[in-house]
């Protein structure tokens, strides 16, 4: 069921974008930089390309995704422990419930990311002296697809992990993992196995969402397929966990 409070949560991204990208509004004179380039720069707070070696900037660039994680990281988890039993005695398949909840999460993520991308794009259009062109539109669409898949996947992972280890531990695990993945993404040249075999670099989700597409490899197709595979695997795993687990035992937070 779509709840008003969850829809309102997605709107929080608009002030965040305007605050974070306020440099565009305050900069005064516009720029002659193409909108697509300006947009990319502002999406990741400093264009983390393969030359970028600052892990903080990469993580900072993912802040909007992290905010979504925080807002919806317990969406399925809380529903499972607080409201699900009256559903499960009626619904034969727990997997069906999980898929349903995952789609709802996907929908909230879609709305949140549309607002995120469009707000950023709008600011770039206002600031740029250039006209919107086909390249800019293409970049916006590809960015949206990748950010959407990435934020949905990470949030789904947090929810699933929360079911096993509790929400707090799940958030910490997720951000530690993101930190490690970001480190591997920006320092790939220092790690011979990743430097010599680009395939390993392409397996890093952070690389796929922030860096890979600067290369134009598959024009965003490879990362999108990659994330779809990750999401599919996570959903299969989630369905299996749920169908075997004991429901309505005290939730992990209360146990601790």
């Amino acid at each position: 069921m779509v709840s008003k409070s969850n829809v309102l949560k997605t709107l929080i991204i608009i002030p965040i974008v305007f605050f974070r990208k306020s440099n565009l509004l305050l900069a005064g004179n516009g720029t002659d930089m193409p909108i697509a380039e300006l947009f990319l720069q502002n999406m990741f707070s400093g264009n983390p390309s393969r030359t970028e070696t600052n892990i903080v900037i990469v993580m900072f660039g993912l802040m909007e995704v992290i905010v979504f994680n925080l807002l919806f990281g317990t969406y399925i988890y809380h529903d499972l422990y607080e409201n699900s039993i009256y559903i499960f005695i009626r619904q034969k398949s727990r997997i069906k419930w999980f898929i349903n909840r995952s789609f709802q999460l996907f929908a909230y993520s879609a709305v949140y990311n549309i607002l995120f991308i469009l707000s950023t794009f709008l600011l770039c259009v206002v600031y740029s002296n250039q006209e919107i062109d086909i390249v800019a539109i293409r970049v916006v669409i590809i960015t949206y697809i990748l950010i959407q898949l990435f934020s949905f996947w990470t949030t789904l992972m947090i929810n699933l992990l929360a079911i096993r280890i509790g929400a707090t531990a799940s958030f910490i695990t997720n951000y530690m993992t993101l930190l490690v993945l970001s480190f591997l993404a920006v320092n790939y040249e220092a790690i011979p196995i990743i430097k010599n075999i680009p395939f390993f670099l392409s397996l890093n989700p952070v690389t796929n969402v922030t860096i890979n597409w600067n290369d134009g490899i598959g024009k965003g197709l490879y990362p999108a397929v990659y994330f779809l595979i990750l999401i599919g695997t996570t959903m299969l795993l989630g369905g299996k966990i749920l169908s075997k687990m004991d429901i309505s035992l005290e939730n992990k937070e209360k146990n601790n």
Partner: protein, 212 residues
């Protein structure tokens, strides 16, 4: 003819034995009760019978069909589990309509009648988070009864209710038993149990004995 039976049902979590060799047999049209201290295992027994928790050993049978083996879920069941709520940001009607939409067995009118049956206004526009404790318990009762299930597992059904509410629940349970439902209730209220139940079990440290 619905019968519910457990054979050597046990549940262990880590090293704690929560349910220990439970053997019961229950029949349709009869109200069964269970009493016992907090933490004695009553709620866990309800969860196992509802198929929400898998037994560590033993079997649960509905009409001689083994739960989790011959059948994935119990037959049509209405349930109340202590401390488990509905969606607080929706109205009572919307909550029940959502649950009813899973199996589509009843109409909106049936839902409204169920809400009225427990003494609430089906057209109340307030969300559940604005309900009093007693109103919340009533709407949860309505969700348990609304689809006229074959089995009713009710953990503390009179919790938070005033005298009029308790009387109402007792009357409804009598009506449901007369309709042929198999009813199993737990209650701290000894009066409820002795007034309503034909068979009473006593639970202590995960073990069960029949009192009457």
């Amino acid at each position: 003819m619905i019968t519910l039976e457990t054979k050597h049902l046990s549940k262990q979590i880590k090293n704690n034995v929560i349910l220990d060799d439970i053997n019961i047999q229950m029949h349709k049209g009869v109200i069964h009760g269970i009493v016992g201290k907090n933490g004695s295992g009553k709620t866990m027994l309800f969860r196992c019978l509802a198929g929400l928790v898998h037994p560590s050993s033993g079997e649960i049978l509905y009409d001689n069909k083994v739960l989790h083996k011959d059948i994935a879920t119990p037959p049509r069941m209405g349930i109340i589990i202590e401390n488990m709520g509905l969606y607080p940001e929706f109205t009572g009607f919307k909550n029940l309509k959502y649950l009813a939409s899973i199996n589509n067995l009843i109409t909106d009118e049936d839902i409204r009648a169920s809400i009225a049956r427990v003494g609430l206004d089906p057209n109340d526009k307030r969300t559940i988070k604005k309900y009093s404790l007693g109103m919340r318990q009533r709407i949860i009762l309505a969700q348990a009864f609304m689809e006229h299930p074959d089995i009713l597992l009710l953990d503390e059904p009179t919790n938070g209710l005033d005298e009029a509410g308790i009387k109402l629940v007792r009357d409804i349970l009598k009506e449901e038993a007369a309709r042929g439902a198999l009813i199993f209730i737990s209650s701290h209220n000894k009066e409820d149990i002795s007034y309503l139940c034909e068979v009473i079990y006593q639970m202590s440290n995960g073990r069960l004995e029949e009192k009457v």
